[in-house]
Symmetry: C2
Subunit: 196 residues, 2 copies
């Protein structure tokens, strides 16, 4: 009557985010939570009920392993995890999958581990992402130009409709500029590598 189509060991953004932190240095669960919730703050949050079960799943999947248990006598013991080779591989594969259009958070989480993948692969990903933003930007602009009244009164519903779309345009334009800057750096890196 009802069939679960989800795979057995389904990985989600939280698990990949934890992998992304451990790809940089071994950490305890508590430290990972601190880094996610306080790193510049207001971007991505995690809580205990997501954190500890996720670590268990990552361990079961063989993507991370316990490196040590630190005990400082006056504080609770800390379980320090490190990433495995297959964990790195899984993380790299995830980074290179293009997120759904408009899924800004997933895109940024992946970018946080972009240093792991080959520059030419990263260029391909960023080009596709840039195209998505360009298409969305065109949609927004068409929508705005479809309104006959260009300068509605502030108490006209159309005023709010337009202002919300204009915010969307501002975000898309900012994203495209960022993509262009990233592509510049990466292409220069590739060119330099070929020279030498």
């Amino acid at each position: 009557m009802y069939v679960n189509l989800r795979e057995e060991n389904f990985m989600n953004n939280i698990q990949y985010t934890l992998l992304g932190l451990l790809a940089r240095e071994p950490l305890s669960g508590y430290e990972m939570k601190q880094q996610i919730n306080n790193r510049i703050a207001h971007f991505y949050k995690i809580n205990n009920n997501q954190l500890y079960p996720s670590l268990s799943k990552l361990e079961d999947a063989g993507f991370i392993e316990l490196q040590a248990i630190e005990q400082d006598s006056y504080r609770p013991p800390r379980k320090i995890y490190r990433i495995t080779t297959s964990g790195i591989d899984a993380l790299k594969a995830w980074v290179l999958e293009l997120p759904e259009i408009g899924d800004h958070d997933t895109f940024l989480l992946k970018q946080y581990s972009a240093w792991l993948v080959r520059p030419d692969a990263l260029i391909g990903l960023l080009e596709k992402n840039k195209e998505q933003h360009e298409r969305t930007l065109e949609d927004y602009k068409e929508k705005i130009s479809s309104f006959q009244e260009k300068d509605p009164d502030v108490s006209d519903p159309l005023f709010s409709t337009i202002s919300v779309i204009e915010m969307g345009i501002a975000i898309e334009e900012a994203s495209i500029i960022w993509c262009n800057r990233m592509l510049d750096v990466l292409r220069r890196t590739l060119a330099n590598r070929k020279e030498t």
Copy 2:
């Protein structure tokens, strides 16, 4: 052992979004879903299991009421809802509450109904929102200037750390520019109204 601190008739973003649509014109549930999911797309989504129970709750709370049931013989009957006076009041009050820092979606959902509130109140809200973005922008800039290596290799983790923060900076700057444009329009409107 466990106490529910949530109030009885707690309203969420979905319910206010529905109110925001009905504040513009009477609609059926099906039409509301279409507008939310297809209006420019990729911004906010809703499904049947959120939609229909939400409409019942809004009706129970007295914020919307059934206007008519349209029957076209060859298609299922449509229940057309309209917003009530207390629904408008609830919506206005929600629009003027400043969202949590970084809650971009809620801010935009509120802006969609900003045409309903007095320009001077809207100016106050936008000023506070702009200050939040300015503070976040400063945090990001400080973070970046705290790194000694300014131009790390693309395969250095710091390269990704910086690029993610730079995306944050781009978004914050775009938001501030948008706020300034909105504030300009609203202040000019207020000045014109006082003149006449």
